[in-house]
């Protein structure tokens, strides 16, 4: 048999991989300079250094310092964390479900979280209460799907997928119900905007718990990342290779669900990242999960940061993040699907 096309050169992929991993940090520095009040890159670097040594802050205005440290930095960090979370869990879910068209919402976590937030907003809760409600209901949705799937003993994975879709639809209906009974002048717009996603009100208070969950979950997924290759072969082959597929999948689902719920609680419903990013990752570094997971993490963080910057700076008024990821992500996915089909069959 002849092969028409040579495989992408391995060293090119290695180069792309290294650049990818460094990308979020570079973009973060650039993003800190952007905004209605321009701050130069050197000032941004000096502000960072001044956190270590006060003398670097000489000549930098308080406004600039406050903008970078108190306003821009938390929002940028949250954008990076959410993007990283959605990217790596999307790649993970695609691997264990052997399906390149799923993302972390496959088990209903986003829909559950959306309902939790809508419910809290309807009850005029504080922002932190909204976040906790979203987080908890996200976990409840997945737990329900999981318990439901255990009712069948055979084909647990396909039943789990089905239950996830069903539970997700159920919570979406509940959310719609919340919207119909919400006050159209006050609560309804709040629910609508929350469901479309956005990082407008982010402060330092949102960062720690999101960071802890995202970093811990990513750490586990990255440690076990090579095993996703094995899992993607199917349960029987994985078992024959000495891997216990169920134990690994449950751990993976638990971590991914926590990460996604935390991301949605912080930033609202931000679609498409978890679906588009792993495809882009496969094109850049290949389908091997050993590289794909770090690449998706990095790429997801970079993508969401860029999108949030566009929303924050380039457009008049703030276009909701969930809208922008769709408007940019969908055409991007279409282009990727047509241009390169080697990442999956």
């Amino acid at each position: 048999m002849t092969h028409k096309k040579a495989a992408p050169a391995a060293h090119l992929q290695t180069l792309a991989y290294i650049i990818l991993l460094a990308l979020p940090l570079l973009l973060m520095l650039v993003a800190l300079t952007l905004g209605r009040y321009p701050i130069s890159l050197s000032d941004v670097v000096r502000i960072f250094l001044s956190l270590v040594d006060r003398s670097f802050a000489v000549g930098i205005s308080d406004t600039a310092y406050n903008l970078v440290v108190r306003v821009r930095l938390p929002r940028i960090l949250v954008a990076l964390l959410i993007g990283a979370s959605l990217g790596i869990t999307g790649a993970g879910f695609q691997g264990i479900f052997k399906n390149p068209l799923v993302d972390s919402n496959i088990l209903g976590v986003t829909s559950g979280a959306g309902f939790g937030a809508a419910l809290a907003l309807l009850l005029s809760a504080e922002p932190w209460q909204v976040q906790i409600s979203a987080f908890v209901f996200g976990l409840i949705a997945v737990a329900l799907a999981f318990v439901g799937s255990r009712l069948y003993r055979t084909a647990p994975m396909i039943v789990l997928t089905l239950m996830g879709i069903l539970i997700g639809s159920f919570f979406m209906s509940l959310t719609s119900l919340m919207k119909t009974i919400a006050d159209p002048l006050d609560t309804l717009p709040a629910i609508t905007f929350w469901l479309l996603g956005g990082l407008t009100g982010i402060t330092w208070r949102d960062v720690p718990w999101l960071a802890v969950i995202t970093l811990a979950g990513s750490f586990y997924l990255l440690l076990t990342r090579w095993r996703f290759n094995i899992l993607s072969l199917g349960d029987e082959e994985a078992t024959a290779l000495g891997v216990n597929p169920n134990r690994l999948k449950i751990a993976m689902v638990v971590f991914s669900t926590l990460m996604t719920a935390a991301a949605v609680a912080a930033g609202g419903v931000i679609g498409w990242v978890g679906l588009v990013i792993p495809h882009a990752g496969r094109i850049l570094v290949g389908p091997d999960h050993k590289r794909l997971l770090p690449a998706s993490l990095s790429l997801g963080a970079s993508f969401l940061l860029v999108i949030d910057n566009i929303s924050r700076i380039a457009l008049p008024g703030e276009v909701p993040l969930g809208v922008l990821t769709g408007l940019i992500g969908v055409p991007l996915l279409i282009i990727l699907l047509f241009r390169n089909r080697t990442g999956w069959q």
Binding site: M1, L241, T342
Partner: protein, 453 residues
């Protein structure tokens, strides 16, 4: 390393056993072929042996230790499964695929290291596919994929490899490539259990054969004991021939092929030729029974043909048994059917036209005489050993409704007589051929219908 299975039973659903009391043993450097028709349980057997499924009963021992008491990763270092070629969801490179064989050697949090990559590359070199290392596995041909899967088994470094239909969907060259590699590895001490649909490959490569049917072990043992015409014919429900040479007086089987039923049209001098052939068959003392299925339209002379055959067979000194059922004519009208015992020429009325047939309907309706049918069954149930048995005829009553001359069906099923001749109408020919695929079909319709001669 020895793999041994004793009395394995397995069912996916209770009451529907897929494996029934299967036992086998594989020693180092042996190749065991598992043969049997589709759905006989070969793949399930492999998944039990690989530890994917636990049998409901029976034991699987690896060097005397219960397979299911061994930790999964330890087990996977001993037994490798090479599945049927499939396309994974993602286009991993060939090297990545082979590398996955390292899974049982790596901890949960480990990724492959340099040493693992080296082992993967060596494995690829062993199957001579180094040049495809960075190619997407999904773009390979079926044969190359099978070789990559073998390389994965090599990277897994297990002394026992289970292969599920390695010869499926492969052209002869690729089958040769894959199986020669298997033979070569077997020479280096790896043992193989191969599920296959190719008895010929078993003939070439196997040390032992397990022949399965309906989940049970039909036969198990040395190649020469198992790959025989009766066993293969039973397993596949197909008339199988083992063709071979004779080397210094010892028969050497070379190929296993199904026998095609021959279908010929009756020509005027065919009876002559058949008689010559019959004489030749008997003269050669050929052991395997011959079956002639005589067919033809109503009135084409099937009974006449059989009668003629019986007369000429008698003429060359052959002993004959069985029955004839010629039509009885009155004033040029077919009014009944007789049943004649060929052994002594005695006859009774088998059927008459049913009384009160409505006028204008020309199709004759026959009323069978139960007593004569019983008589016919007694004749057919007590046939003495003869050179030729003729059964004229078996109809829908026997084939479709389980009534009538059931002993006639049994006589032919048992293949107890050297040459048998059975008459069926064309509408039942397919039933007859399905039941007796080894039969030679004779269509006598070519002759003018002179049944009343």
């Amino acid at each position: 390393m020895n793999l041994e299975a004793n009395g394995l039973c397995f069912a996916y659903h209770t009451g529907k056993p897929v494996l029934k009391d299967i036992s086998l043993a594989v020693q180092p450097d042996q190749i065991l072929y598992v043969l049997g028709p589709n759905g006989c349980g070969k793949s399930t057997l492999l998944s039990c042996l690989s530890g994917i499924r636990k049998p409901d009963q029976g034991s699987i021992l690896l060097d005397g230790i219960d397979l299911f008491s061994i930790a999964p990763e330890d087990r996977a270092r001993k037994i490798g499964l090479i599945p049927q070629t499939h396309v994974p969801a993602f286009a991993y490179t060939v090297r990545d695929m082979v590398l996955m064989g390292r899974a049982p050697h790596l901890g949960l949090f480990d990724s492959p290291r340099r040493a693992d990559y080296e082992i993967a590359d060596q494995s690829l070199e062993s199957v001579q596919l180094s040049h495809l290392r960075d190619r997407p596995y999904t773009e390979l041909s079926g044969g190359e994929r099978q070789l990559v899967m073998i390389a994965r088994g090599l990277a897994q470094q297990c002394p026992i490899m289970l292969m599920d239909e390695p010869d499926a969907h492969l052209d002869p060259q690729n089958q040769h490539r894959v199986l020669e590699l298997v033979a070569q590895l077997s020479g280096q001490g790896v043992s193989f259990v191969i599920a296959s649909h190719s008895p010929n490959n078993a003939l070439f490569y196997a040390d032992r054969v397990l022949l399965m049917k309906d989940g049970a072990s039909l036969a198990y043992g040395k190649v020469s004991d198992i790959l025989t015409e009766p066993l293969l014919s039973t397993a596949y429900e197909l008339d199988m021939a083992v063709i071979g040479d004779v080397d210094e007086g010892i028969p050497v089987p070379r190929a296993i092929v199904p026998r095609r039923p021959t279908y010929s049209r009756m020509e005027p001098d065919d009876i002559e030729r058949l008689e010559t052939n019959l004489a030749k068959v008997f003269a050669d003392g050929q052991e395997s029974p011959q079956l002639i299925i005589v067919t033809g339209q109503s009135g084409s002379g099937k009974s006449t043909w059989c009668k003629e055959l019986s007369l000429r067979a008698k003429g060359i000194g052959l002993s004959i048994g069985g029955i004839l059922s010629p039509a009885v004519f009155e004033n040029g009208e077919k009014t009944g059917i007789d049943l004649i015992n060929l052994a002594d020429g005695s006859h009774r009325r088998l059927a008459g036209q049913r009384q009160g047939t409505s006028s204008g309907v020309t199709t004759p309706r026959w009323q069978f005489d139960e007593a004569t049918l019983d008589w016919g069954n007694i004749i057919l149930g007590n046939l003495p050993p003869t050179d030729l048995v003729i059964i004229d005829e078996l109809g829908p009553l026997e084939f479709r409704r389980g009534m009538g001359l059931q002993n006639g069906l049994r006589v032919i099923d048992e293949r107890a007589h050297p040459v048998m001749c059975v008459v069926v109408r064309p509408s039942l020919l397919s039933d007859a051929r399905k039941r007796w695929p080894h039969g030679l079909v004779m269509d006598v319709s070519g002759k003018p219908g002179d049944g009343r001669k």
